[in-house]
Symmetry: C2
Subunit: 240 residues, 2 copies
C-alpha cells in the first residue's frame, strides 16, 4: 500500500490517497493517537470513491472517530470498464428510455461487478488492518449488493449499514439470509428506480437477528443528513 | 392542576403525580432552571400511565432535557371503564381465543376511547403550558391512534413519535393524510397482533413531508432500547 498524497482537512481528518497494486483508494482517519475501528465505504453500483456524497459521509464518520476507506474496485469508479460492461450500460440506457424491463440487463453487469470487486476489497482490508493507526473491528457502509457478498465472504465484517437504492443481483438476494451481522438498512420510500417492495422483501430476508430498517420519505438522492449521524451511532453500538 | 406527590429520582428527574379535575397524571421534569420543551406520552390503547415501559421512556426523555407528561384519560389506565367497554374487551378476548376476526370489535371500543381521550389531553396540555418550568414546543410520543387524532385537532403538537403496534381505527387511518407534522414511526417487524402491511400502508398515508420509519426485528414488546435514544434525537431536531 503506497500513499500518494495527503490532505489535512479542517475537521482534523487526514485524507490520504493510496494505491494497492492496480487499486486506487482513499483513507480518511481522525486525529487520534490510539488505533480506531474501520469502516469500508462503497458507493452504489460501482460509482467512484470520489463522489461528493460518499466523500461527505466518509469525512463525517472519520471526524466521529472512525478510519474510513473506499476504493475504486475493478470496473468501478474511474477504473476502465470492459467492452461487455460498456455494452450492457448502453443497453440499459436504451431500455430505460424505451420503458422496457431492465432486470436482466442489470443482472448481466452488476453481478460480475460485485464478484470482481470482492477480492479487491478483501486485499484492501488486509492492507488497512496492517496499518498501526487502524485497529478493528470492521464495519461496512453503502452499496447493498457488495455488502451482502462481503458480509458472507469476509468474517472480519462485524456490522453493516446498507443503502437499499440499487439493483441487487439474484445471487445476493438469495444469500441475504446468510448475512447474520447486525444491519442498518436505509431505504428511500419513493426511490424512483428501485421498487419499494423488493427492498422490504430483502430486509425481511436478511438472516441477522439484529436488523433495523430506516425509511425516509423522498426519492433516491433524498436521504436526510441525520441518517449519517444515525449510521455513526449504529456503528458505535457494534464497533466500539 | 394539583400536585399530589413528588419524588426526586436518582437521575435528577423530578416525578410528580397530579390531578386535573378527574384526570390523574404524572409529570417528569429535568433538573433545569430554564423552561423546557414538553412531550406528551401516551401508552397504547389506553394502558396505564404507570406501566413500567412508559415510565422508563418518560424518565429517560426527562433526563435528556424534556418535560414529559402522561395521563390516564377517560376510560384509560386505572380510570373506570364503561359497561360497553368491558363487554367489548370480553368479546375481544373470546374472539381472539376462537381465532375469529377482531377488527370490528377493536373498532367498537378503540374508536370511542380515542375520541374521549382527546379533550382530556388538550385540557392537560393547557394546564401544563401554564407552568413556568414548561416552555414549548410540544411533541407527542406513543399511541398511534391518539397521536393522529391529537396531531390533527391540536395545532400545538409540533412533532410526533408514533408506535405502530396497536389497532388504529378507520377514522384515524383516514385522517392520517392530514397529519403534516414531522413523524417518527416505530414498527416491530414481527408484531404478533398487528399486521405489518397495515402499518406500512399507514406510514405511506401520513401527509407529513418529513417522516421516518424505524422498523426492528422482533415482536410487539421487543423494541430495542436505542429507539428511545433515537426518539430523543428526533425530538431534538424538531423541538429544540
Amino acid at each position: 500500500m503506497q500513499f500518494t498524497s495527503e490532505q489535512l482537512l479542517d475537521d482534523g481528518v487526514l485524507a490520504r490517497e493510496f494505491t494497492l497494486g492496480e487499486i486506487p483508494g482513499t483513507l480518511w482517519t481522525p486525529a487520534s493517537s490510539a488505533p480506531v475501528p474501520l469502516i469500508l465505504m462503497a458507493h452504489n453500483n460501482g460509482l467512484p470513491k470520489g463522489a461528493a456524497r460518499l466523500v461527505a459521509r466518509a469525512r463525517h464518520s472519520a471526524a466521529h472517530g472512525y478510519a474510513v476507506a473506499s476504493i475504486d474496485a475493478s470496473g468501478c469508479g474511474d477504473r476502465p470498464r470492459s467492452a461487455a460492461d460498456e455494452q450492457a450500460r448502453a443497453e440499459l440506457r436504451r431500455a430505460m428510455q424505451a420503458g422496457e424491463p431492465v432486470d436482466e440487463i442489470f443482472e448481466s453487469f452488476i453481478g460480475p461487478l460485485v464478484e470482481n470487486a470482492v477480492p479487491e476489497w478483501r486485499t484492501t482490508l488486509d492492507a488497512l488492518l496492517a496499518l498501526p493507526e487502524i485497529g478493528g473491528p470492521v464495519g461496512y457502509s453503502g452499496w447493498t449488493a457488495l455488502g451482502i457478498r462481503l458480509a458472507v465472504a469476509e468474517p472480519r465484517i462485524a456490522a453493516a449499514g446498507l443503502f437499499a437504492g440499487g439493483y441487487v443481483p439474484r445471487a445476493q438476494r438469495e444469500e441475504a439470509r446468510q448475512v447474520t451481522v447486525p444491519l442498518l438498512f436505509l431505504l428511500q420510500w419513493d426511490d424512483e428506480g428501485n421498487p419499494r417492495q423488493r427492498a422490504l422483501d430483502l430486509f425481511d430476508a436478511f438472516g441477522a437477528t439484529e436488523k433495523t430498517l430506516h425509511a425516509n420519505l423522498g426519492g433516491h438522492t433524498g436521504t436526510p443528513w441525520f441518517e449519517v449521524e444515525d449510521g455513526n451511532r449504529f456503528f458505535d453500538r457494534h464497533l466500539k
